[in-house]
C-alpha cells in the first residue's frame, strides 16, 4: 500500500470518527428532560411530614374536650408547617418542578387555613378534626405520588 493510499484511508477513518462523534454529541445533547431528578431524601421528608400531620391530628382527636385548645398544639403545628416549607423550598430550587411546587403550595395553604381556624375558634370538635385530617392526607398524597413518579425515570 502506497503512502498516498494509507493517507487517504486514514483521512476517511478520521472523517468517519469525526462524523460519529458529532452525531453522538448532538443526539446525547438532545436528551429530553421534563421533570426534576428523583430525590430519596425528599421522598423520606414527605413521608415524615405526612406522618407528623397525622400524629398531630390523632393526638387532638384523642384528647378530652377540655384539652383541645389551640395553644396546647401551637408548637406542633409550627413543626409541621416548617417541614412543609422546607419541602417547598427544596422544590423551588429544582428545575422542571412546577407541578410539584403547585401541589406543595396547595398543601401548605390548606394546612395554614385549618390551623388558623383552630386558632380563631380555640377548639375544634372531633368530627371537624377527623375531616381536616382526612383532607390533609388527601393533600399530602399527590406530593408523595409526584416524588415517587420521578423514581420511574429511566436512563438510556
Amino acid at each position: 500500500m502506497s503512502i498516498k493510499q494509507t493517507y487517504t484511508r486514514l483521512c476517511m477513518q478520521l472523517q468517519y470518527f469525526a462524523a460519529a462523534t458529532l452525531i453522538s454529541t448532538i443526539v446525547i445533547g438532545c436528551q429530553v428532560r421534563l421533570v426534576p431528578q428523583y430525590s430519596a431524601e425528599l421522598e423520606n421528608q414527605i413521608i415524615n411530614g405526612a406522618k407528623m400531620t397525622d400524629k398531630l391530628y390523632l393526638e387532638m382527636i384523642d384528647a378530652p374536650a377540655d384539652k383541645k385548645n389551640y395553644l396546647l398544639y401551637s408548637e406542633k403545628y409550627l413543626d409541621v408547617e416548617t417541614e412543609i416549607n422546607s419541602i417547598l423550598f427544596k422544590n423551588e430550587a429544582r428545575e422542571k418542578a412546577a407541578d410539584i411546587i403547585k401541589s406543595v403550595k396547595i398543601l401548605r395553604d390548606k394546612f395554614v387555613k385549618y390551623k388558623r381556624d383552630h386558632k380563631t375558634r380555640n377548639s375544634l370538635s372531633n368530627p371537624e378534626l377527623i375531616l381536616y385530617n382526612e383532607d390533609l392526607k388527601a393533600f399530602w398524597a399527590p406530593v408523595l405520588v409526584e416524588e415517587k413518579a420521578l423514581s420511574a425515570v429511566k436512563q438510556f
Binding site: 460519529a20 446525547i28 428532560r33 421533570v35 396547595i106 382526612e134 413518579a149 420521578l150
Partner: protein
C-alpha cells in the same frame, strides 16, 4: 452496517409504545387510588353532616376544598405523564443514536 431510516423509525415507534404502555398502568392505578380515597372521604363527610355533627358552613368548606384536592391530584397525574413522555422520547433517541453509531462503525 447500513442505516435504514424506515427500520429505525419503526424501532423508535415501538420503543415509545412500550414506554407509554408501562407508564399508563401507573396512571390508571394512581387515578383509581385517588378515586377510592375521594369516595371514602365524601362518605364520611356526608355521614357527619346527616348526623348534624358538623355545620352547613363547615360542610360547604370541605366541598370547596375537594376542588383543590382534585387540582393537586391532576398535578400528580401530570408529573406521571411527563415521566412517561420523557422515558418514551429518550428511548426513541437512544435507538436513533445506536443506529447512527452502528452505521458509521462506532459500535
Amino acid at each position: 452496517m447500513t442505516f435504514n431510516i424506515n427500520e429505525v423509525l419503526a424501532e423508535m415507534a415501538g420503543a415509545v409504545k412500550n414506554e407509554v404502555k408501562d407508564d399508563w398502568q401507573s396512571v390508571k392505578i394512581t387515578f383509581g387510588n385517588f378515586l377510592q380515597s375521594r369516595k371514602d372521604r365524601l362518605n364520611l363527610l356526608a355521614d357527619f353532616r346527616m348526623q348534624g355533627e358538623i355545620s352547613e358552613d363547615f360542610f360547604q368548606q370541605r366541598l370547596a376544598d375537594e376542588k383543590d384536592i382534585i387540582e393537586s391530584e391532576l398535578h400528580a397525574i401530570a408529573v406521571i405523564n411527563k415521566v412517561a413522555a420523557q422515558n418514551a422520547a429518550n428511548a426513541a433517541i437512544a435507538i436513533l443514536q445506536k443506529s447512527v453509531e452502528g452505521a458509521v462503525g462506532l459500535i
